[in-house]
């Protein structure tokens, strides 16, 4: 299983088999939102903060 390190708390986070670049995951240890920025090699970055005009 592919894992990545949380940039906030350094937790080891497993990535789901169907993970995709651009997907948001939550660090199970510190709760921060992370964006998957790469799969080969796996990489994550802190997700951008919600903006006022975000939505549906």
């Amino acid at each position: 299983m592919t894992t990545v390190a949380c940039p906030e708390c350094d937790a080891n986070i497993p990535l789901a088999a169907d993970a995709e670049v651009g997907e948001i995951i939550v660090c199970p240890e510190c709760g921060v939102d992370l964006e998957i920025t790469g799969l080969d090699p796996a990489a994550v970055a802190l997700a951008p903060m919600e903006q006022e005009d975000w939505g549906e």
């Binding site: 651009g22 997907e23 948001i24 903006q51 006022e52 005009d53 975000w54 939505g55």
Partner: protein, 288 residues
Amino acid sequence: MVGRPRIGVLYSRVRVEEKWIFAAMERMGVDYERLDDRRVFFDLDRPEPWRKYDAILERSLSYVNGLYALRVLNAWGIRTVNTAAVAEVCGDKLATSTALAQAGVPQPRAVAAFSMESALEAIQSLGYPVVLKPVVGSWGRLLAKINDRDAAEAILEHKLTLGSYQHSIFYIQEFIEKPGRDIRAFVIGKRVVTAIYRKSNHWITNTARGAEGELCPVSPELEDLCLRAAHAVGGGLLAIDIIEHPQRGYLVNEINHTMEFHTTQPISGIDLGGLIAAHVLAVARGKT
């Protein structure tokens, strides 16, 4: 266009909705490309890189980014789902209310004002409580239920100091005592494909705020209202939010043009991702 249409999907994040749309496109053998809205640009003198797409599905998280992209694309003659004109109306609550009023579609009473004094007068004319909403915004963000004049004065003053000019455009709705739920219906083209109740004990019934979904039967009356509402804002791929007024019946509250459906798809069993992909293909082929 010769042969298979080529589709672009402009997106910000791969939410579960995008996963379902991409999966449907792959299943259907659609020739599509993922376009991260943080990585693209529009050279107004060079539309060629974009002209390779027969249609673009806009799924940006940011309303303004999506709107400006659609404006440029439509100006170049590129088909989009939805169109810039539809996004312009649906992304702005005052524009939506204006369009619904013009078409005679029932909706909650709404007033707009541009100063503290006129907003207080407008609220008085509606009667407390009222709901103050940002004209642009989603997911139940920054909504305020105002029960009395003291609260109105405080909130209006706060909004006047928030910085963005849009917070000084006061959009005020009558507060409706709804039955612990509202309705979200999905319109694709000329069809209402499904609807759910969004149930919550809180007066804000967005699923983004914890409301739970339950299947809502689409009666002929509900269907007729949804189609009229969709037509009023220009039609396309829309999610219509409806309040059940105890006396006045169905009232159209809001219309969403880049809708989420993570609650609706599993509850309804309707493959919304697939229907969206099919709709975009139909638009690409000029069949809508």
